[in-house]
Structures are given as C-alpha cells and as structure tokens.
C-alpha cells in the first residue's frame, strides 16, 4: 500500500482520525479541568473554558491526599518493576542460554501460571494478606504486580537475549569470567534496551492496575492513584472539575513516559503481544 501514491489530503485525514481518537478524551478532560463548577452547569455546554481557572488543581492538592496517592503509585510501580525485571531476566537467561531440560515446556508452564486471572486470585490474596496483616501495605501490591508483568517481560527479554552472540560470552568466560559474571558484564549491558522496554511495560501495568489495589489497599492513606481518584467523593455530587484535574495530574507522568519512549513501547508491546 505504501508504494501507491496517495492524495496527500487523504493521508492527513487518516492521521487526524487516529490522533483525534486517541487524544480527544484526554483533551476533553483537560478542558474540563480548567472550567469552574458554574460553567459546567451551563447549557449548552462550552468547549473551551470561558474563564480558565487553576482552582481545581489547587483543590486537588488541598482537598485530597493526591500526593500520597502519587507516591504510593510511583513506589509500588517502581518496586514491582524492579522485582519483575530481576526475576524475568534470570528466568529468560536460563531459558535461552543454560541447559535447562525442556525449555519450551518450562516457558509454557511459567506463562500459564503467570496468566492466571487476577480476579480469581483476588479472593485468596485478600485472605492471605489479611492473615499476614499486609493489607494496605506496599508488598501486598508489589508481589502480585511483579507476577502480572512476568509473561510480557520474560518474552521481551528472551527475544533480546537470543540476539546476543554466544561467542561474546564464551570469549569473556575464556578470559576468566564466570557465567553470572558474563551475564552481568556482557549480556545485560548489551540488552539494556530490552531490559528498559520490559521495565516500561511492567511500570505501566502496575501504574494502571485497579482491582487488586482496590481490594488489597483500600485505606485512604495507602491508595494508589486509580483507586484514590475513583473513590473520590464530593460533598454533594461527583465533582467533575476536580476529578478532571486529578485525572490530568495522574495521566501526565505516564503520558510523558510513553511519549519519550514510544518506539520501545510499541516494539515491546507487539513482541509481547504477538508472541505471548
């Protein structure tokens, strides 16, 4: 299709449709976040904020502990990502390089277990975390989130490890490096882009998760952003301008992350998605 010359306007129209479809809901929330409560009551509704106000953003930070939500989300996502990457990298390396019996079977078993539906795990995890007094703590979320991203991270890392020539490691080992030394000094630095891609995917997965966060960490001071914002209640009704401002605060960090690393994210997603 690319070879056929297309009228330029049609190409632009195609780009516009895809971009508007993706950006519009977030843009609408952005406009809403700068409107006053009274402007939102106006019929017909306005598109641009008539009198832009920052008040909603001020109230997001003063009325609700959104900084606490942000901090919880960030730490849980970061720590679960580190755990997930460490565990997945070890497993992926063992499957690609070391003489594991029946590596394909081991990989299938690993994927099948890790893809167990979260909703079914929710009940026993709630029971266990409650018994261990871990409800409303970070570990209660970090451990399941590390498993949540294990399939995609393992698959992405496997495909990156496969591209590293064995001879590089062998040369290092002949020079006196151990296997683990070669993994740490040769393979990991060479596959840094893969490790990073897997890390972003794991981070986004953890940042977005809602059901377990709602179940295992419901106390206000330990809520993550999705739970904190969804359970945000106004005095009388659902306060849309403030909710919108809160959504923007929550969306901006993750949008910047994926905007900066969009090539890697797309690469990792399609690798993990198509293969796994």
């Amino acid at each position: 299709m690319m070879a056929l010359p297309k009228p330029k306007k049609m190409v632009w129209l195609a780009a516009l449709i895809v971009a508007v479809n993706g950006f519009f809901p977030a843009l609408w929330i952005l406009f809403t976040s700068f409107k006053t409560e009274s402007e939102l009551m106006r019929i017909p509704i306005t598109i641009w904020p008539a009198a832009p106000t920052y008040e909603n953003y001020v109230r997001v930070f003063t009325d609700q502990p959104i900084l606490t939500f942000l901090f919880n989300s960030f730490m849980v996502a970061l720590l679960s990502t580190l755990l997930c990457i460490t565990v997945s990298a070890c497993a992926a390396y063992a499957l690609v390089r070391l003489r594991i019996p029946a590596p394909n079977l081991v990989l299938s078993v690993l994927l099948a277990i890790a893809m167990f539906p979260l909703i079914s795990l929710m009940v026993p995890l709630f029971q266990t975390m409650r018994a261990l007094s871990l409800l409303n703590t970070w570990p209660a979320l970090i451990l399941p989130y590390a498993v949540l991203s294990m399939p995609v991270c393992t698959l992405v890392l496997i495909s990156f490890f496969q591209d590293i020539p064995r001879d590089l490691e062998n040369a290092a080992m002949i020079d006196g490096c151990t296997r683990l030394g070669a993994l740490w000094k040769i393979v990991i630095p060479l596959t840094a882009p893969g490790v990073f891609t897997a890390g972003i995917l794991a981070f986004v997965n953890a940042w977005d998760e809602f059901l377990l966060a709602l179940t295992l960490s419901p106390r206000v001071s330990s809520r993550t952003l999705p739970v904190g914002i969804t359970l945000y209640q106004g005095e009388f009704s659902f306060p849309w301008p403030i909710i919108s401002a809160a959504l923007i605060v929550a969306i901006v960090p993750i949008s910047i992350l994926i905007a900066v690393f969009q090539d890697r994210v797309v690469g990792g997603l399609t690798q993990g998605g198509v293969k796994g």
């Binding site: 780009a15 709630f126 998760e209 809602f210 969804t230 994926i258």
Partner: protein
C-alpha cells in the same frame, strides 16, 4: 557450547553413563539455570499456586468474615450448588458474555480500522503512534471515568451533541440498555488501540511486492484488502481475538467506574459480583466458589490461546 564439547567429551562419557552427552561444565550450567529459574517459580508459587490451593479449599467451606464465631466448616459442594440457583450469578455471567460478544469483535474491527489508517507513509510519525499508545497507557478505570463524564445526562458531551443535532437526550447510564451500550463504547475505545498496535505490526510485515503484483494484475483496492491484507493478517487477528477474550472475561474496571453495575444489577459483570460478594459482603466461601467457576472458563480460553501462539511462530519461521 562447542568449547565444552571439544575439551571434555571422553571424561564426561565415561563418568556419567546415564547422561553421556552432558559434560561437568554443562551440568554446572544446568544447575545454574535451575537456580536462575528458581526466583520466578518461588514468586509464582507464593502469589499464584498457593492462593489457588487456598481458593479451592475455601470454596468448599462456609467462610463468612461477618460470622467469625461459626468457624470455617467444610460444606462440600454447597457453595457451588448455591451458585447454580443464584439468579444474580447467572445474570452477571450473561452480562459478561454479552460484553465479550460485543466488545471483542468490536475492538478488533475498530482496531483493524485504526491500524489501516495508521499504516500510511506519514512524515511525522509521533501524533499517530501516540494516538494509539495513549488509550493503551490510560488505566481502564480512568477511561471509565472519562466516558462516564461524556455520557453524563445533562452536562455530558454526548447528550449535548445529540441535542445540538436535533435529537433527544438519551438516558445513558440510567437505563439498562443504554448503559450497556455506553459501557461497550468505552471498552471498545480503550481496548481497540492495543489491537491496532498489534495489527499495525502485522501489516508492516506484509511484503509490498504482493500489492505491486496485484496492482499490475489490475486488482482493485477492495480486492487487495480481501485477497492480500486480510489473509496475511489472519494470525495477528486471531491472536488479538483470543487475547481480548481472555482479558474480557475479567471485565471489571470500566463498568465499575461508569455505573457500578447499575441501574439495579443490569450492567454487573461476574468479576464485579465476585468482588462484591468477597469484599463488601465478606462471604469468602461463596466468593471463592464463584472465582473457581470463573477460573475454569479462563483456563479453557487460555489453553486455546497458548496452543495457538505456540504453533504460530513455527509457521511464521519459514
């Protein structure tokens, strides 16, 4: 490992008769490999396998946190029997089935459309790529909140647009049928972008020469789509369909944010019913039985998925 095989074959063959092909170095590697796999399997055992065992045990118990004095006596299949005569369970299952039936093909069709639109020679690539990535990166529950705002009765964008075009405002979110439609639209919007990314990667692997040859043979654009694009894209479409089905069995976030299952229980999914039974009613025994039933359905879907994807790379390889 050519170095290992050339340096130590005789010793290994003589010493280890049952495993003649493994040298000591290779056995060391195998040991290291198992050691490196251990953290993954320990984590899976703690977070998945142990909870599964506990889930199954609890599903055969009377276990209500609201009645701790009752203990947790074994009640056999009572919880399962209760599920089969529980109309709310069947309704929630039916709703979940309807969501899958509408949103999975919906997301694949919309995703295919987006992928075809995005597969153009754009000079500036980021607006299109980010336009596909943003819905994917957005938490499901946020998409639900945003669409709830769109479908708000008096101040929402949708009804105001309808009024501006001369139609009547619709009771989105308060009428069972309209609420179902609104939720499906939100789910399709949210999930189609991931499908589009997967299909776009598939589109870009189709050799351009196929289209050039078809062009020479006088095939129309429409024929090219049906005869080249769709057949070549079939594996990616099947993967997207199965992947979407597995995740839609667990539909929770978007209906939770948009209607919380209402009006009544008319938009409640199985996942929402399990969540309410367990966390709000604290009936762990019954909630576990429901989760086991849901798990059985998921296993069947996942098995189909893994079977397909394991076969697929081999086919593509040659």
């Amino acid at each position: 490992m050519s170095t290992a095989e050339t340096t130590l074959p005789a010793v290994a063959a003589a010493e280890v008769r049952q495993r003649p092909r493994l040298s000591p170095l290779e056995r060391g590697e195998r040991r290291l490999g198992i050691l490196l796999l251990a953290p993954a399997f320990i984590l899976l055992a703690a977070v998945v396998l142990y909870p599964i065992v506990q889930l199954i045990i609890t599903s055969f118990q009377f276990n209500q946190l609201t009645q701790p004095w009752m203990g947790t006596p074994f009640v056999g299949f009572e919880n399962y029997a209760r599920a089969f005569s529980d109309t709310r369970f069947w309704e929630a299952t039916w709703h979940t089935f309807l969501y899958i039936l509408v949103t999975v093909p919906g997301a694949v069709i919309v995703g295919l459309g987006l992928a075809l639109l995005a597969n153009q020679p754009f000079r500036i690539k980021w607006p299109v790529r980010l336009g596909l990535l943003l819905p994917w990166a957005l938490p499901l529950v946020f998409s639900g909140l945003i669409f709830r705002w769109f479908f708000e009765y008096s101040q929402g964008l949708v009804n105001n647009t309808l009024i501006a075009l001369g139609f009547a405002a619709k009771p989105w979110l308060t009428d069972p049928t309209y609420a179902f439609v609104a939720i499906c639209i939100a789910i399709i919007w949210k999930t189609s972008s991931f499908v589009a990314l997967v299909l776009l990667a598939g589109l870009q692997t189709i050799p351009r020469s196929l289209y050039e040859a078809a062009e020479i043979d006088g095939a129309s654009k429409w024929q090219q789509f049906w005869e080249i694009t769709l057949p070549m894209l079939r594996p990616a479409i099947v993967v997207a369909l199965i992947f979407r089905t597995i995740t839609s069995i667990q539909t929770f976030d978007i209906p939770y944010a948009m209607t919380n299952g209402g009006p009544g229980n008319s938009t409640e999914t199985l996942a929402m019913y399990i969540h309410q039974t367990t966390i709000d009613f604290l009936d762990l025994g019954y909630g576990s039985a429901l989760a086991v039933l849901m798990f059985i359905v998921s296993v069947i879907a996942t098995a189909g998925y893994l079977r397909y994807t394991r076969r697929d790379p081999g086919q593509k390889a040659h």
